[in-house]
Point group: C2
Chain length 321, copies 2
Amino acid sequence: MKDVILGIDIGGTNTKYGFLDRDGISLAHGEISTTSGDTVHDFLRDFYQEVHAKFRKIEDEARLIGIGVGAPNGNFYTGTIENAPNLKWHGSVPLAELLQTYFKVPVYLTNDANAAAIGEMIYGGAKNMKNFVVVTLGTGLGSGIVVNGDLVYGDDGNAGELGHTLTNVKGTGRVCGCGRRGCLETYVSATGIKRTIYKLLADSIDYSELRGVSFNDLTAEMVTQAAKRGDKIAIDAFEYTGKVLGVKLADTVAHLSPEAIFLFGGLVRAEEFLFDPVRYHLEKNLLPIFKGKVKVLPSGLGLNNTAVMGAAALAWKELER
Amino acid sequence: MKDVILGIDIGGTNTKYGFLDRDGISLAHGEISTTSGDTVHDFLRDFYQEVHAKFRKIEDEARLIGIGVGAPNGNFYTGTIENAPNLKWHGSVPLAELLQTYFKVPVYLTNDANAAAIGEMIYGGAKNMKNFVVVTLGTGLGSGIVVNGDLVYGDDGNAGELGHTLTNVKGTGRVCGCGRRGCLETYVSATGIKRTIYKLLADSIDYSELRGVSFNDLTAEMVTQAAKRGDKIAIDAFEYTGKVLGVKLADTVAHLSPEAIFLFGGLVRAEEFLFDPVRYHLEKNLLPIFKGKVKVLPSGLGLNNTAVMGAAALAWKELER
């Protein structure tokens, strides 16, 4: 009989889950539509039915001791999801409390990027680190910050919004969904690199296989594949993306002096096209006392099921306090 | 008989010290030249002689239980002063170890800004806060960051260098003593506001009482006094200084979501000329979830002897762990 945590990754379209032991081994896992039903209550009814049935298959060998949830706009302090733009559930959703009434075990909830950081600490490349930062590159740019071995939630649970640091102090730059201009994630994210591709296609007359693709059809994966085939515009877009990220991460290092910065998410598949410029421009822009000290690494969690692992890791970490 | 800490503030010219109890009451204090003798050993011999004599006057009522030191480039982890440009002692100076051989009590050392942050937590305006930032405005801009009730030292002891965050990602802006361009402290510090005055005097044709003052003679205090007399250039310089600081502090909030940001140092005497623009531009540049939450406050330590109080607070905090 071993203790397991139910890790849940709430996404805009699908919700993934898995029963994980302390070593990150999944005893059972699955996926369910997040958009079934109109309310969070409809969703939870379906979710409980499916997950409970799955658990009965492993209940002879596993004891459920807690639940960890990674969710967009998830707040650790309140256990709520706050006005998540990509979810059907509006306003403030007390998801931790609702899950607890179904499963009768402690529930811990945070946002996706914080969960990724804890996953890195419990299961990934940061097992022996006390000070590090995880940057998640998806549709936007999220981040989780660990200081002295603990996640930084800040006064209100909302710390770690590096995607909304500003690339200049003049209030200029690309318009962001948050209503401001020049936020880091308008340059550095799957959406950001698409915007950069379009800027480069406008400014240059170079050939590019991406000239035939509409903005709506373009994906970060297509940019990665084009770069691997030697497409100059795609390579330049990674160089620019890496430069902006590297320079802004120098600010993060000036705040926190982390041992490492982990990059996480689809764009990481571009490997050297992204990592080389990030490392070069970070190093170039560091204050001398920090030079040569900060590692920029791909997530040690791999690319599969990482969000579920992060969510489970959150609960392991809290239950072991 | 009460326990006291010897707080020491090492400055480029003078070193101040005081024997402080847990409430911050000074039982005895004094000052000695930092530049007496050529080496740190010469200095420490003189320092010990003076301080020991002072202690003998209070030894019937006080028991020395520890020493806290705030020093430029002081590193908490190693107890050393590392290549401080304003001190005569070169290289890496193991000051904590040397003081311990003289005084035979535990010695804790950190840089000035970190000491100010701990002073704020133990004696000042942050007594009940777990997450806050202190920004010290002197010749440069220093900072101390507190997360979850502990100072952030980072992996190498050098965290909290907000003065060297960058005002833009293009590598342009004012030349900084660190060798880069556009560092925050080239705009926001006593030196930074002097540079801004000269920029404004060059750009405009407005009357200003500061047109008769050379760069070398100009002080931040003169700018403050001119602003109080209604000098437009001086007021505009504070507005610009506050704007740059406010916008960059929005990045700090995005990292850490602190409850408050304390401003500390001589420029704070300018009161509303500095605080109003800082608050306005910080608020304007915050991500919506942070708006209306972060207080910008003057240090609660007052303006006298604060560095010695911060140094003593460091030792109180460590001894109470």
